[in-house]
């Protein structure tokens, strides 16, 4: 049963951004006792209080044989000496090495984050550019409209030309027909006239005309001889 009156998502709790890791851990004195213990005893006993407590406790344990001194004690003493000496000598180097490893890990993570942010930035730039480009739509449509208008105009003119040529062809045909007819009439008339003239020339008239032509030619040749 979901209580519909229960308010949801009222807090600001969210998983990101994660708070950064604390720089240093809790303070520990002598590697064994946390600092809070010293602070806890400071108001009542001052600075030397915890050390006095430690000494008294140690003496109590030894005297009451709660801590038994045997061969293991000697071994523990030697081992602890060596360990403390090693830590004092090599501690900073190991710490620097570990810090370097950590730094590398953090650096790779930060590099990835920066790269992601960079890619997102470039994506934003590209998006803005695309938006700017989309604003040029009106120019594109104007050009297309011009294209279409030009096509229509071209088509219209082509058809106009076709109409003109067709009409001219028909008119030329009519004109050619008329000239042909007139020519044929002329030719026929000429032929008919020639034929009738030739028919009307009787043989006797032909002889007379030939004789006359010969006389004329002789006269002409005489004239030409004289000129030469």
């Amino acid at each position: 049963v979901l209580h519909t009156t229960r308010p949801l998502h009222t807090t600001q709790q969210s998983l990101a951004p994660v708070p950064p890791l604390p720089e240093k851990g809790g303070e520990v004195r002598h590697g064994l006792i946390p600092e809070e213990f010293f602070q806890f005893l400071y108001p009542k006993t001052g600075v030397t209080g915890p050390y006095m407590l430690g000494t008294g406790l140690l003496l109590y344990l030894l005297s009451k044989e709660i801590y038994v001194v045997n061969h293991e004690t000697a071994a523990a003493a030697c081992i602890l000496t060596v360990i403390v000496y090693a830590i004092k000598k090599l501690g900073p180097e190991v710490a620097a090495f570990a810090d370097k490893l950590n730094e590398e890990k953090v650096a790779t993570a930060v590099a990835m984050k920066d790269e992601a942010i960079q890619t997102l930035q470039t994506a934003i730039e590209e998006e803005k550019k695309e938006q700017w480009r989309a604003e040029g739509r009106s120019y594109l449509f104007d050009a297309k409209r011009n294209n279409v208008a030009m096509l229509l105009e071209t088509n219209y003119r082509e058809r106009l030309l076709m109409v003109y040529s067709e009409v001219k062809k028909r008119l030329d045909y009519q004109v050619a027909m008329q000239t042909l007819k007139r020519q044929k009439e002329q030719d026929h008339m000429i032929q008919w006239v020639e034929k009738s003239v030739v028919q009307s020339i009787t043989p006797q008239q032909q002889k007379e005309s030939i004789a006359k032509c010969i006389v004329d030619l002789k006269a002409l040749s005489k004239g030409a001889h004289a000129a030469v």
Binding site: L21, P22, E23, K24, G25, G26, E27, V28, G31, L32, P34, I66, Y67, V68, N70, I87, G91, A95, D99, N102
Partner: protein, 79 residues
Amino acid sequence: LPSAVLLKDMKLMDVKLGQLGSWLAMRDFTPGGIMGAIRRGHSRYYNKYINVRKGGLGGLSMVLAGYIVLSYMWSYSHI
């Protein structure tokens, strides 16, 4: 006027010495409760001493010292 806090909700440091017995009796001793207590304690220690940028030796050495003391206490009768 601070609101009265129930005994079972108080932290250990705020419990008075006389109330210690009743406070201890009121804690959650079911398996789930014990697991929760172990988890809380572990995460408190882990986030304070180990899960930091420049962790020191103290975080690990305190655990080892505690282990040494505990094993000495368990094996005391053999000595």
